[in-house]
Symmetry: C2
């Protein structure tokens, strides 16, 4: 193999690509995956599989032989059903021509960045945030301008809008917003959204709004969704709203989501879908259609379950003196700090070893999150209670 | 909406992204999709759904509740089975650490380009070729250096290797090779592969080898695979082989494929999988595992069926004097020219309208293909016969 010296695989990669280190969550999950009796609260999913009636719909599609290539934008029935769902919940008409079915919310973000961000273009976003958003932007050569939120024990994780707007330079193409937020659970008010919208209009910026947790909102009327940019912007404005079947309908592993984009970009998304995945399996789309059509009771039950989980976790952690947090208004995470623990990666590993509980280290989520841990409370109360019992001796 | 003037969505896109026009295949398929009785030979898939025992495996996974997030590189059982499959068919040991499960072969290509190609880097490839390869490279800012093959009625579609090597400049990072080729059906000989390998080694280039049609080879012993770069390169060399469950196991719509890459790049692929799709559904991977483990008889039957389809189509077209082609050694396409027809897009549309047969226009496939049409012969002989009957009056 002398002839190959100096030509190792790494030598031929893009500069920087090997530096996109895994955020620490997958590494930790791999570390603890086979551990007996571990309570996994680190991943953004609940403890229940997809509802049987949704799984049955996929099987009906399989039995009917719906295994061929299909519509790249999504099957029309699903696009229409999603448009109807948004129209129902947000009280504004959403046309099915705006709906693009994607391989999960993550892929909807990647496609959107591919459409908008040239190498060197900037993306302004509030952190802590789901790290894959940052890394997907880096993969396509975008530059990140993170604006760190701060944890105020009274008001929760808060974003200073002026700081966000100050971060916008001449190369900025888009503002990325995630409300309710992962990992913080923070929810932007309608007023904050209006301010962001007005600023974006004035500067000609895109808004990429990740509203995957939009239904998991605990501060309004029962089952009222969190405020959405869909409610305050016109169909052909520079807005892409990202959503997913993962959370609302417990379909995390399926990888089915959607983008709501200006209808005039339909052909561009169709092309990008072709080059990235070439469409979502028809039988999976049929399951998603069943979910969005017949699954509203399940979504309501999930919201109630998450609210109960949030209350339980907050009650229990409030008795542990080292723990600092504010009760989140949305999503299904508590993102809390522990006094005396500066390295959340180390602490998360220690909690696997000593408490047999899996939490995600805040280091993964960018500026502002280094000291925090993310706990997903989309679980049964019994399981959460047991996890709290195990955490108590370590976090007290 | 005065405030929005001058800020149309298109204005805010990346320059060039709207110019990535759809290749013409999807446009045509959308045009003819609902046409009564049309025989669709335009898409790269057969006319049979996935085998029932594979569909049943997916349903078992669904019933077992395997709907959660899963291993980002693929479930270990599937990675091991794929490694075993390659080892069996190519006679060289392939370690499962080299196998990465992706959302289809297309996604394996996109991930590989994301790992290798910086904006401005060049990719040399022979055309005509599946257009999504070219467009995915353009999406990530790569520059294409196409080398047109020529149609020799005796030898078929041929690639001049010297012209390919001459196209390699200082910014070239990789050679993209697709053998057996889509749309040409051309197969690189072992000698040609050795020459490409030696050139790539000398210049420190990557080889991206799309071997999705590797089993559909008609020039060797019965069911012998086409030559593969796996047979002639070491595990840690700069080689990525792209493959898919789509063709061999009639799973086109599922979107499950794999890359065989240097094991040292496993973490990089794992990261890129996270940012692009976040893993292939576990129940789909379980179906793929059943396919690769128990589906060999089906692959053999597919090869036989495609060979019969190829022979039928070639026999029939050879009686139509305007049609120029050479019998392909691999894949499941015939890529033929029609004397007196310079615009294949126009001709393909005309064939939908007058013959009710769907063929893909060669304009889609880059330099060298403008005049040709692609016909997929992975169909029943009865269906192909009927298609030939309909084409005869137009192509004679």
């Amino acid at each position: 193999m002398d002839a190959l010296e100096g030509r190792s695989p790494f030598g031929g990669l893009r500069p920087g690509i090997a530096g996109l280190l895994e955020s620490g969550i997958v590494e930790l999950v791999n570390y603890g995956r086979e551990r007996d009796g571990l309570i996994p609260l680190w991943v953004g999913e609940g403890d229940l599989p997809t509802a049987p009636f949704i799984r049955a719909a996929a099987n009906r599609g399989l039995e009917a032989g719906h295994t061929f290539y299909t519509y790249q934008r999504g099957i029309p029935a699903l696009r229409a059903a999603v448009a109807g769902y948004l129209t129902r919940h947000y009280g504004v008409p959403v046309d099915m021509e705006r709906i693009l079915i994607t391989g999960g919310g993550m892929q909807a973000i990647m496609l959107t960045l591919q459409a908008l961000i040239d190498p060197g273009d900037e993306l302004v976003l509030a952190t802590p945030v789901w790290p894959n958003i940052m890394q997907s932007a880096e993969v396509i050569g975008g530059r990140l301008c993170p604006v760190a939120m701060t944890l105020d024990p009274e008001r929760g994780w808060t974003l200073d809008l002026d700081r966000m707007f100050d971060a916008v330079g001449p190369r900025c193409k888009a503002l990325f917003v995630n409300s309710p937020g992962n990992p913080t659970g923070a929810v932007l008010s309608r007023d904050a959204m209006l301010a962001i919208r007005d600023f974006a209009r004035q500067r000609g910026l895109w808004i990429i709004s990740d509203e995957v947790y939009g239904r998991l909102f605990y501060a309004g009327r029962p089952h009222q969704p969190a405020p959405s940019f869909l409610e305050i912007m016109e169909p052909e404005e520079r807005l892409v709203v990202v959503n997913s079947f993962s959370k609302n309908w417990a379909m995390t592993g399926w990888r089915v989501g959607w983008a709501t984009a200006p209808a005039s970009l339909g052909q561009i998304y169709e092309n990008l879908i072709q080059y990235n995945l070439s469409g979502v399996a028809e039988f999976m789309q049929e399951a998603a259609l069943t979910a969005v059509t017949d699954g509203e009771a399940d979504v309501s039950a999930l919201i109630d379950r998450c609210r109960a989980g949030r209350d339980l976790v907050c009650d229990r952690l409030s008795t542990m003196p080292r723990v600092r947090f504010a009760k989140p208004d949305g999503a299904f995470y508590l993102f809390f700090e522990v006094d005396g623990e500066a390295d959340s990666r180390d602490l998360a590993k220690r909690l696997v070893d000593t408490a047999n509980v899996g939490l995600a280290p805040g280091t993964a989520f960018g500026p502002g999150g280094q000291r925090a841990l993310r706990l997903c409370f989309a679980c049964s109360e019994a399981r959460l209670d047991e996890a709290m019992d195990r955490l108590q001796p370590v976090l007290t």
